[in-house]
Structure formats: C-alpha cells, structure tokens
Amino acid sequence: MGYEPQADFGTPETGAAETVRLTIDGREVSVPAGTSVMRAAALSGGSIPKLCASDNLAAFGSCRLCLVEIEGVKGTPASCTTPVAGGMRVQTQTPRLQKLRRGVMELYISDHPLDCLTCSANNDCELQDQAAAVGLRDVRYGYEGANHLGETTDTSNPYFDFDPSKCIVCSRCVRACDEVQGTFALTLDGRGFASKVSAGQAGDDFLSSECVSCGACVQACPTATLQEKAIVAIGKPERAVVTTCAYCGVGCTFRAEMRGEQLVRMVPWKDGKANHGHSCVKGRFAWGYAQHRDRVTSPMIRDSIDQPWREVSWDEALAFTAAKLNAIKAQHGASALGGITSSRCTNEETFLVQKLVRAGFGTNNVDTCARVCHSPTGYGLKTTFGTSAGTQDFDSVMQADVIIVMGANPTDAHPVFASQMKRRLRQGAKLIVIDPRRIDLVRSPHIEAAHHLALQPGTNVAVLTAMAHVVVTEGLAEETFIRERCDVDEYEDWARFVSEDRHSPEVLEAVTRVPAAELRAAARLYATGGNGAIYYGLGVTEHSQGSSTVMAIANLAMATGNIGRPGVGVNPLRGQNNVQGACDMGSFPHELTGYRHISDAATRALFEGEWGVALDSEPGLRIPNMLDAAIDGSFRAIYIQGEDILQSDPNTHHVAAGLSAMDCVIVHDLFLNETANYAHVFLPGSTFLEKDGTFTNAERRIQLVRKVMEPANGPNGQGFEDWQVTQALANAMGLGWDYRHPREIMDEIARLTPTFAGVSHARLEEVGSLQWPVNEANPEGSPIMHVDGFVRGKGKFVVTDYVPTDEKTGPRYPLLLTTGRILSQYNVGAQTRRTANVVWHHEDVLEIHPSDAENRGLKAGDRVRLASRKGETALRAEVTDRVAPGVVYTTFHHPETQANVVTTEFSDWATNCPEYKVTAVQVSPSNGPSDWQEDYAELSARSRRIAPAEAAE
C-alpha cells in the first residue's frame, strides 16, 4: 500500500436496504435510501468539493463548497445535507456552481497563511486540494486576513500541535470530539469571521482542557491546524501498513504510516471492525516505547541474581538456558519446570510457548496473565453457557436499550468501545452502573446513568442475587426463553434460592449498602427496558467470588432472555490486546486450545498425533500455585514471555520469595522489567511492530498483526520475532521445530482446534477479520453466539451463594482498597511509562474521600502511607468524592509505588484469580518512601547492572 489517505465519502452510510435511483452528471446511480447527494456522487466515482464534510460525522452544511444544482429545485442546495430522491437529476459542475465555489474559496484563503511549501500538511491538505479543485487563481480581498493570522501555536499536548492561524473553522474537530469521541472538550468561541476553535474554557490550552488526546480532531482536521508533532518533525509518510493495536482488548485496527523503517504515525483504519476509524491516546500516539533507549537488544545471562548481567550471543544464551532446563528436569523431573504465556504476544507465539511447555518440558505447568484478570470469566461462562468468551460483537451495543456496566471503567480502560457505547447512550439507551466508584460514565457531558449502585467492595454476588430476587419475585422472568433454552429444573432450583426473603434488596442492603429502592428500580429497568446488555470488567472477576459473580451475571441474562440476539448479551471487557487469544490458545494448565480439558483422552490423542509426544493427563500448576511450589522446592524453573508478574501479581513479597527460590528464571521481554530483577536469563523480545501474527480481541475477533519494521533484537535484518526465539529455545533443547512463518503455526492451530477450523492467514487477508467459532457451521465466523441454542446445549442456572471475603476491615485496617487503571497508562506501565503519556499520570495516587482524609489530617497532594496486613507503600493522596467514604483507590502502573505490595493472596475460589479489588488498609500521613520502597529501589539498581564487555583479544 502506498500512502494515500483512505477514501472519504463525505457523509456516513445509511445502512438502508432499500435503494434509490438518480442521475448525477448524466450517470445513472443507485444508492441506499437516505444517502446524501454528496455520498452518492462519491460512490459513483465523482468528487464534489467539500471542506466541512467527513464520512464519520453527521452532515453539517457549513462550508458552502459542496453546492449542486438539482433539476426542479430552486437555488443551489448543499449536497451533504440533501438526501437523494428517486429520479433526481443532479449537476455537480456548472458555470454558476464554479463561480459560487471560487467565491467561497476566496474568502477562506483571504484569512489563511500562504506558506504551503513549508507547511507540515503540504501535499496532504484538503484546503490545498479544494483550492485546486475549484480553480482558485486570485483572491480579490487580499491575503491579510484580520481574524486568524499570526496566532500563537498551542504546543501543550505532547503529541500534536494546534495552530489557530491555519484554522478555517469548519468545525470538524469540534464535531469529531462530540460525535466520535463523545468528550465534548472543544467548542467554537465567538461568531462569524471571528469564530475560533477553543479547547475547554477560556484560558485553557489543549493539555489543561478536558481533551483526552484520542486524536479524532487531528484526524478530522482538513488543514495543518491540528497536526501530529511527528509529521512536523519528519514529514509526510510514504507507505502504510494495516495492523492491529497492541494495547487493550478492543483491538483497534491502525494504518502504520511509515517513511522507510521509521514509523511516522498510527492512524485508525476506517475499515477496522472493532474501532471503525476511532482511536485512543495509547494506540494512536503512545508507541514511542518501541524505540526507547531502555530496550534491551542483546541476550544476557548470569548464574545468580547477585551478579551483574553478561551480554552474550543468541547461541550462547540459548545453550546456557537449554542446559539449565535439561539439568533441572533430569534432577527434579518435568514437573519442576513451567512457563507463562503472554497476553501481549500473538496467538501464534502464545501457542508455541504452551507447546514448548507441554511437549518440550513435558509438563502442563503453563499459565497466562488471564489468571490474574479474566480466569473467572473462563470458568463462569464455560459453566453456564458452554464457552469461555463474550457473547456479542461490539456493534451489538448500538441495538441495546439498557446497558449495565459492572466493575468496569470503559472510558479509561476500553476507550474506543466506550465512545461507541456513549454514542448509543446519547441516542437514548439507559445506563446502570454497578461500581463502588463514581466512574466517568455515571455522569459526563450528555451521559447520565439512570442508576448508580455504589456497592460496598466485595458484595457483587449479593447485589446480583438481590436483582435476581426482584426479577423472579416480581414476575419479570422471561419464561418462554427459559423453557425453550435452559435447563428448567436448574432454573427452578435457582429461582427458589433467589426468591428467599434473605436475598431481598431490603435485607441485603445492610451488606451491599445499595439502597433497596434503587436496586429494585435498576433490576426492573434491566428486565423490562428492551434489549439488556451487560458489560463487565475486572471489578467483577478480581474477587474471592469472581467466578460466582460471572455466573450470577449469566443467570440474570438468561432469566431475562437477554442472550442470543443483537443488542443483548454478557460481555467481558478483556484487559490486554490478546488476553482472549491467550486463553483460546491453551494457555491454562488444565486446557488445550479451544477450552478442552487436558484429561480428555480424545483431545490429547489429537495433539499427541500432531506433536509426536505423549502428554500428561493431569492439570498443571497455576501461577500462584507455581510460586507456592517454588517456595516449597518442587518448582525450580520458569520461562516467562512478555509478562511482569513481580509488578502485576498480588502480594509482591510472596512473588519475590517464589522467584528467588527458583534455579532458573527466564524473562523474554522488551525491557528489564521488575521480574527480570530475579532472572538468570534475559531474552530480548520484539514489539508488535516487528512481527507477523494475529491478535484476538474481546469480541473474539481474530485480526492480523503485520510487521512494519525489523526486530531490534539483532543486527539489521537478523533480529528475531518472539515466536522465533521460542522456536530457537525449543531447538536448543533438541525439539527440531521448523516453522518458517507464523501462518504455518496458525495452520497447526486450525488443524487442532474445531473453533478455529476455518481460520488461516490467507482467509484473514481476504476478509479482514473473523470472529470464532469459524467452522463448517459458521464459515464466516460468529459475531453473536448462542443464537439458536447454547454451546453447552441447555443454558445452566447455577446457584451462587454470597460468601463474604475473608479479607476483613477492622480497627487497624478500617478502609477498603480497590485498584484499577487510568486512560493514559496501560497495565504495569512498561510501555506507556516510556512515552510522553507520563504528562497525564507520572505517579500512582491514592483516591480518598474528603471525610476519610479529614479524619486523618490529610489534604490533597500529601504523601501518605498505605498499609495492609501484607505490606506498605507510600504515595500521594488525591482527595475526591469519586470514591465512597471507607473506600480508597489507586492504580498499579508505577513500580516505585508497587500497589501490589499491599494486596493479599486471597483469590477466587474456583480459579485463584487474585482478589485485587478488596484489601483492608489503613492510610496515614507519611514523609517519605516506605522501607520496602527504599530496599526495592536498591535491589533494582543492583540487579540491573550489566557487566562491561570484555575487550577483544
């Protein structure tokens, strides 16, 4: 693909099935009803001049360039706001139109600088193109415009500049902020010629305004007014490669726009089915980590973690690693080895790591970071529906009438999907938020939740049981659906259980702190308000009853008939780009690909036939069990690809003790992460820009990742993609693997996995993306699941009793801590901390309610000590009523804070997913870092030493 912006048809698709025939410039055209004349002309190969129109925005009709003549219609209507009609005869170019357009263009150019040759948008500027299209030759009013010339450029945003001198006030940026992003940060200040685009209030710049830096305005701008700093610095790209973002589970598709091997900018791809041309600050702008000076590009080894690292060749590093693994296996058996697959790597890479562990190491001790996020989703949805994934595609939300958001904060953690959800809410869908915090969706511009159930952390199951009580006892259950689609005996047991008085909202209010009347109203709304869709996140799963909560959600959806069609469903918002894929690929110790239990002999035989080795029929260790077994001495070596368990997993002291007890810790990553402080081997990884493969997003959508530059972990052209490193390690252990391209790995996955039977790189190239299952029954994939019946047969109602967590508040630890994410940072921050995103969030802060702060003599900005029964850290306080009294909140993006020093080992009963969302803590004034923070900073510095290379003889 060369570099040309994607075609812009001027106004959005109507989606109408009915078509209308008309004539444009003598050409017969047939288009969907409701289409604008502008779009009809563009669809038939024409191009009506335009400046204020863009096909991701509603028609606006302000620039007056797109005027046309229509037979029998007076005057010259704007083609963007005029819908087609049957038999209409349109002229897009006449002497009268030409004169009008030139006149309009003269006015624009009279107030626009003529520095085209040195302008950063030169040759990529719609104003320039349209001046050419209308044949502008002279400006009768002169070039000394009185209103927009000589303004100061706002350079406050780290990624783009705002140069008001170049603004033609087309409002595209303002409308993109409103309609596409839904933040409403921009406005037009003043009137007529004097009107100007303004971010936030008078006196604000872009950085201090409500702008979330999603880039929609930059993309919408037809001139150089809003322009990426990278374009100013580098120049116009020369080619573009379509690939998939490596941040959150939304899975946005981007055009990586390149000049040589230099990435110039990432522009959201309009044909991306998950993002439809939208982006967030992370995917759009925060890719600078890929070239950050901290990237380690040489393999390194050491015998003990007290020693400095020694840089070695790939051969030496792999031989050293293989020898260690083989020796440990010989002495302690295969069960002493294990591995962790990465939710940030591709499906193909993840598949190879679990293959290496199962077939090479000879054990099922393989796990993935979904253990600490959505493992309860896997368990809960498999049990109730029969498969471990969300039921809908993202577009389904546009048909939802009532949306429940539970334990998720989409505007921060899944921003592009949040924009789509907000669009639906602005159209009138109702919202119920179930969250201890007042997240932005509860109340933000043009969005207001009908109900916010601000529950006590740890009482999710009680809240959902009370909602179910209302549905059943008030006769709101969808009995036809239940009779036809679910196991009726199990439903009746469940209905009896939830109907008991002890499960009424009034009785449970004492536990949940949710007013009974509010909860009843929310339950009635969900059950009777039309299509009901539930979206949930880690506030559901990361509890001692995470799996029960997922099943309680599934129960509620089945009881109200909200499964199996567009607009409804149960939708986990997955955290990392490929966490769905990592789970699909057999990363859990008890499952092979496609969620088939390792004890199933027929499935095992399939893999044994393909791989030529016998597989263990017993499940392996999960991550927390691996750490326990390491301290116990029976687990001694681990290969960790793209995962930083020291920072991300709970109770840091325990993780450190487990890692320290091992003989061989192999870290395969971009950076010397926190886990690498305890590692003996470091294998440098490759970024998503440096590899081919696929990611699977939260809607089960499999999309291609395409290499745009060579891996940095070797001399030019000799670096390795991550799957190649895993293959090299396998071969150093004598396994004789011979994959030449990730497409061959995907072919193996398809052979072994019925839900992936129809997936191949060639198919994905052809259709763009596929949502599994892709098989004989669903050759084009499955946007919606459980349409005619549940995957497991009958939907299963599971009685989920509320069992309070054993993590209790008391006099010494009276507050409840819950942890989460912020928009500008991602997970442990390894990537985003190495970008300019730190301007928004350079340290983790503790949100605390004003009354709790006052009781402790704390004010905003004070450094505070945050202590639990497990450990303590220090950070700054932010006093806010976003959190309820008794609840405090922080993020885990910065290793200097290490929020997980205070979190506990309590975990989900079914999956051992840690209970990050409930820790009893005390907060008190502090004047410096905790002892742990000081010790860890010292250990980190010591452990990251790299020995100087020895001089060549």
Partner: protein, 64 residues
C-alpha cells in the same frame, strides 16, 4: 506445598458449593479438585489429616 494454603483453598471451594446441599457439595468439590489441581497439590491434600479438614472437604478428598 504448604498444607495450610491447600486446606484453605479446598475449604473455599466447598463453601461456594455449600448452597447446593451437602451431597452435591462433596461431589462438586471433589470434581473441582480433580479438574484444576496439579498432582502434587492433590497428593498433599490426600495425605492430610482428615480431622484437619472441614467435613465436606474431607469427604471430597476421600473421593479423589
């Protein structure tokens, strides 16, 4: 494996199945351990003193 931790895990599983009645809870706890625990964890709890386990867990372990 630290036996206290395994006892706690087994007990937590049993508590979450308790609402299904004792017989069902015993069967479900045994099945859960069979499906999700690695052999060394199973061996450790099998070797444990039944008196140290809750009645449902003890009965479930006897079924392994």
């Amino acid at each position: 494996m630290e036996i206290e931790r395994l006892r706690y895990m087994a007990d937590q599983i049993a508590r979450n199945f308790a609402a299904q009645g004792e017989a069902e809870a015993v069967a479900a706890t045994a099945e859960h351990i069979r499906l999700y625990w690695d052999p060394r964890m199973k061996a450790a709890i099998l070797a444990d003193d039944r008196a140290a386990l809750s009645p449902v867990v003890a009965a479930a372990v006897d079924r392994l």
